[in-house]
Symmetry: C2
DNA sequence: AAGTTTACTTACGTCAAACATAAGTAATTG
DNA sequence: CAATTACTTATGTTTGACGTAAGTAAACTT
């Protein structure tokens, strides 16, 4: 199930980092020592930002790793919410 | 590789929520419609807080889902950092 | 013009981990 | 003493992140 208007981290990577910086996925892959397909799949939303990837982006771009994992978290939450909303609604909040 | 002094989210769940609230893992599992072993394994640090689990905790405890996923993120980062620190150090920050 | 490097994508097999089911034990409650 | 509560561990399935590799094409080098 693909939620509309939910930007995945790969879009941010491409639009906010690679393109403005004049960088290719090929160059980035070499620079952070990962295979090219990892980046290709991230950019096309087929793979998530893992802790490993976040740490590498972090060092290269000078961002925090949580920035990248936060983007992923936001995306995953938005994707998952509608899938399980029916069951979530059945959950009663704890009464202290 | 198990980093010392890194608290996993299961510890927080037990020490900061279940115990103070007089709740058992059994009751929580029933309340949020998940199998008991899922909670048992989380509490013992053998399983991570997934998006699904975070959304359920969120509704039941009245916290944000990001609170739980944030704990997991912090834990995962601390665990992973030492594993790949050598390779990360070889990454050169991008020069604009 | 031929060859090397850059650039990207897709196919494929592996492995780790999140999942549910189920079974087992023990303590508590009716 | 039977049912429920409570917890743990074993087992099998599926998903997804991983690397390797191969394919195509464009842009440089020589």
């Amino acid at each position: 199930m693909e939620k509309l208007n939910n930007i995945h981290p790969g879009e941010v990577l491409k639009a906010e980092f690679l393109d403005p910086m004049g960088l290719t996925a090929y160059k980035l892959a070499k620079a952070i020592f990962i295979p090219q397909n990892r980046l290709s799949e991230i950019i096309h939303g087929k793979r998530s930002i893992s802790v490993d990837t976040a740490l590498r982006f972090s060092k290269f771009f000078g961002t925090s790793p949580k920035f990248w994992l936060g983007l992923q978290m936001d995306y995953d939450l938005e994707e998952k919410k509608p899938e399980i909303s029916a069951e979530i609604q059945e959950i009663k909040a704890f009464q202290e």
